[in-house]
């Protein structure tokens, strides 16, 4: 379809205010949170409801035009990077909380709803939404779903995938399906909802999402412990987990990271080689006893200081320091690259040592902040874009770090996704058989590869769609299956 005609059709669905076509305005959408990749889309559309999304996608399918969904654009792997000849479908105007159902502990939202709004909406009822990415004040539930986002409290409560119970999805051909049982559990058949969560926008667009709400815990206790180095802090982490305690969160920051955070938001962290923030929550009697035990374990691992948050304000200060970690790097370095790798928890000491060796080898600074409880590392590689070649060097170093994670039995990404950024590394973690098999799913959802094409896999699998008459499955041909 010609551009003018496409604009006209989109305007007929959305009205002129729902279509962005001016080049300068299109630029606003050229990248997500990962700014090294930029592409200006053909068109940006801003639907206001599910029906509009469905109509847009149906038109694009008929015309063979690819599309990319975008929530708040905070993704860190280039997932929402537009395709040049395609349409960017921005869901930021779909921001209604459609239903709050406290008796069933569920909430139904539109995809553009901001993560934190959900918890705010149900706070007075004593509930909250557990997955809490550091970006929760801006990132959308649709984006969280597509990335299977994690957060500091996921150690105990699980990731986005454990809290999404249903989704209405517009498939690439414009059809609408309801995945998962929503308020009812154990929908029979393949767990297509579980497969859709974390698929990074490549299997369709979620337009309505059912989430699980959690009851606020009776008691929350938080401490900050300082150690001489990350090894000491790591010992405490192993001690806590090994004792059978399941903390709500255990986060670690190294000295460079502490410095940056102090400069940026001054939470008053001790000057140490490493700090741990440990939070326990649950029934009071249990939390009290295990919190005492946690303090003892920190002390037994030679903590130089253990600071207990005396009230909500102090707890908030600890978390402010932690959540500001990425942004704070701007205070100690012109530029930084956020890596996201995972290792089995017991490999943490060996991996941290290798990261520090790699930093020395490259002559670059690496700050470490991570979800220590589940082995999810965020090494921040500091560099200066103004210095010729440094950006490439930083990316190489970050790549080497993630290879170390793989060598130690880990993963390429714990929460930021593969997107555009890491698809080239996929063959280091998966065989071509693995990736071909994953793409069978893609072929079932989107045989023409229109939904967020080019992401996630280094080479798309051809689905062998034969145009022409519908082919009957052998099972159906034998008259053994009903035709859906």
């Amino acid at each position: 379809m010609e551009r003018e005609k496409l604009i006209e059709t989109m305007e007929s669905i959305l009205g002129p205010q729902g279509v962005v076509s001016e080049r300068e305005q299109l630029r606003t959408y050229e990248c997500d949170g990962l700014m090294n990749y930029r592409v200006i889309p053909e068109l940006v559309v801003l639907p206001e409801n599910a029906e509009q999304v469905q109509r847009i996608v149906a038109v694009l399918y008929d015309e063979g035009v690819p599309f990319v969904a975008r929530g708040s654009g905070t993704g860190l792997s280039g997932g929402a990077l537009p395709v040049a000849s395609g349409v960017l479908i921005v869901l930021a105007r779909m921001r209604k909380i459609l239903e709050v159902d406290i008796p069933n502990q569920r909430v139904v939202v539109e995809p553009g709803v901001i993560n934190l709004w959900v918890s705010q909406e149900v706070a007075d009822e004593g509930y909250y939404y557990a997955p809490d990415p550091a970006s929760q004040v801006v990132s959308s539930i649709g984006g969280n779903l597509a990335e299977n986002s994690g957060g500091v409290h996921c150690l105990k409560y699980g990731f986005t995938t454990n809290h999404v119970l249903g989704a209405e999805v517009v498939l690439a051909d414009g059809s609408v399906v309801h995945l998962g049982g929503g308020k009812a559990p154990d929908s029979p058949g393949y767990d297509l909802l579980g497969s859709f969560v974390g698929s990074e926008g490549t299997l369709g667009i979620a337009t309505r999402i059912t989430l699980r709400l959690c009851r606020k815990p009776e008691s929350v206790r938080t401490l900050l412990a300082a150690f001489e180095d990350t090894e000491g802090a790591g010992g405490a982490v192993s001690g806590i987990i090994g004792s059978g305690i399941v903390p709500a969160a255990i986060e670690m920051m190294d000295s460079l990271c502490i410095q940056a955070v102090e400069t940026a938001v001054a939470p008053g962290f001790p000057d140490a080689g490493a700090v741990l923030i440990v939070e326990l929550d649950g029934p009071e009697a249990e939390v009290e006893q295990q919190f005492r035990q946690t303090i003892e374990i920190c002390e037994a691992n030679d903590a130089s200081e253990v600071r207990v948050a005396e009230d909500d304000e102090e707890r908030a200060l600890f978390w402010k320091g932690r959540k500001a970690a990425f942004a704070a790097m701007g205070r100690i370095s012109n530029d930084y690259y956020v890596q996201d790798g995972v290792v089995p928890r017991t490999e943490l000491p060996a991996v941290l040592k290798k990261i520090s060796d790699l930093g020395a080898q490259y002559g670059m600074r690496v700050a470490n902040v991570f979800h220590a409880g589940d082995g999810n590392l965020h090494p921040l590689v500091l560099y200066d874009n103004a210095v010729e070649g440094e950006a490439e060097k930083a990316e190489d170093l970050a790549g080497d770090i993630v290879f170390v994670c793989l060598e130690h039995g880990g993963s390429l990404t714990g929460e930021h996704g593969i997107g555009e950024d890491k698809k080239k590394y996929m063959p280091k973690m998966f065989t071509s058989e693995d990736m071909d098999t994953m793409q069978l799913l893609r072929c079932a959802f989107d045989p023409h590869g229109l939904s967020n094409p080019g992401k996630l896999f280094p080479t798309p699998r051809l689905c062998g769609e034969r145009p022409g008459p519908y082919q009957m499955h052998p099972v159906q041909k034998a008259g053994l299956a009903e035709n859906f």
Binding site: D186, G189, E284, Q289, T413, H416, M438, L456
Partner: protein, 429 residues
């Protein structure tokens, strides 16, 4: 119809998996009255892969089998030539207690696995009733079985973190990893959860583990009626106690609600007080002895057999009393004897109906299914157990809804020859 296996000799299968690991099938290998020709139990993923590509090349209809505790799940097979058993794939591949992760072969029994984990004070948070009958991990994943502790630990989908599958063409593919947190690639372990052998054979699976609780207590109350049972369950659900399980046992003359509290002793006793107080307005609250807890609490084995139809009814957690009424009403109208157990906090009830003629059983299944689908969108009624005559008259899974065509396309992609457990899956796939 695919080849019936007449051209294939057991010798060919033996040459792939080894003489001791293949045999002609007997009547005991039949599934819902449909007898296979061969049974093969490969010893390695490589042999499994070669077996699968041979079998699909020959067009043999394949049924994967673990311990065979739940072969009655799903519709009766439309064809069956070869049972592929995982009995010889029963090892622990890797277990590092400090990582709280285990990698196992699909054929290991959950009981054996739990025993090994217990020696390190850990556990896999799955407790389906089939465990006692020796259910394998692969079978539990394939049927998406869960038990009482799902209230706290979730179901298979929440605990599985990686998978290795063998597709009908012999392709060996893995997804996920052995770390708890990982978002690289599509999560095929979820796709295969509940796939009932329709897309390939699960060869290996990785799980996240939890610490074994030190202390446990089961409280019980006998609410006066279904309304009170629902209210009692809601009171616990909305409290700040964190029970591991909340189970209901109900019959035509009422029943019991049990609440399992686990953790450290101090926490368990404090929570027991809270829960006792909440429940005391519904009747006298008792602490069960451990024998009682085994019988009544969250460990009850299924009492399968005879002419009982067992339905798994999934509806909204807060609708417990309505769903109970609906099942009891259908039983009464059909002159049937109801025996209901269920996960009261999760919206899952197992309704056993017996003591009536085939016609009455079929009618009751249809009545319950109709009412649940109308009243609780997203809900489902699955026939878990039933005499063959009943199974042949009611669809095991119920309608697939608007995702039916998508399920069919997934099936076609993974199993283009249509040889994996044909007929047994949702929609007759």
């Amino acid at each position: 119809m695919a080849a019936t296996g007449t051209n294939v000799h057991v010798g060919q299968i033996r040459s792939i998996v080894g003489d001791a690991n293949a045999r002609e099938a007997t009547e005991n290998d039949a599934i819902d009255g449909v007898a296979p020709h061969f049974v093969a139990e490969p010893e390695s993923v490589e042999d499994l892969s070669r077996l699968m590509s041979f079998a699909s090349g020959e067009g043999l209809a394949i049924a994967p089998r673990g311990a065979g505790t739940k072969l009655s799940i799903g519709n009766p097979p439309s064809e069956l030539d070869l049972v592929v058993g995982t009995a010889n794939l029963g090892g622990i591949i890797e277990y590092v207690p400090g990582d709280q992760v285990v990698r196992v072969e699909a054929g290991i029994s959950l009981e054996d696995l739990q025993e090994r984990l217990e020696s390190e004070d850990q556990m896999l948070g799955l407790d389906p009733p089939e465990k006692r009958a020796g259910a394998t991990v692969g079978g539990i994943v394939a049927t998406n079985s869960s038990g009482p502790r799902r209230l706290r630990y979730g179901t298979v989908r929440d605990l599985i973190i990686g998978i290795t599958v063998v597709l009908p063409d012999g392709t060996v593919a893995k997804a996920g990893s052995k770390v708890v947190k990982n978002v690289a690639g599509y999560d095929l372990s979820k796709l295969f959860t509940g796939s009932v052998g329709s897309a390939g054979v699960i060869a290996q699976a990785n799980f996240r583990l939890h610490p074994l609780p030190e202390a446990a207590r089961t409280l019980a109350v006998e609410p006066g009626g279904t309304r009170e049972a629902g209210e009692a369950a809601q009171a616990v659900m909305h409290s700040q106690a964190e029970p591991s399980a909340m189970e209901l046992h109900w019959s035509a003359d009422g029943g019991t609600l049990t609440v399992l509290l686990e953790g450290i002793e101090a926490g368990v006793s404090a929570q027991s007080e809270t829960v006792t107080e909440l429940l005391s307005s519904f009747g006298e609250v008792r602490t069960l002895t451990s024998e009682e807890a085994d019988a009544l609490g969250p460990q009850e084995p299924p009492q399968v057999g005879g002419d009982e139809v067992v339905l798994k009814v999934s509806a909204y957690p807060a609708a417990l009393s309505e769903v109970l009424d609906l099942v009891l009403g259908a039983a009464q109208r059909g002159g049937l004897w109801p025996r209901i157990t269920g996960h009261a906090g999760s919206g899952v009830l197992f309704a056993g109906l017996s003591g009536g003629a085939e016609e009455a059983l079929v009618g009751a299944v249809e009545e319950v299914r109709g009412a649940v689908l109308r009243g609780y969108p997203g809900g489902s009624v699955v026939v878990h157990e039933a005499p063959l005559a009943v199974k042949q008259r009611v669809e095991a899974w119920g309608p697939a809804g608007d995702k039916g065509p998508l399920i069919r396309r997934v099936k076609e992609r993974f199993d283009p020859g249509g040889t994996m457990n044909p007929g047994r899956f949702i929609g007759g796939l």
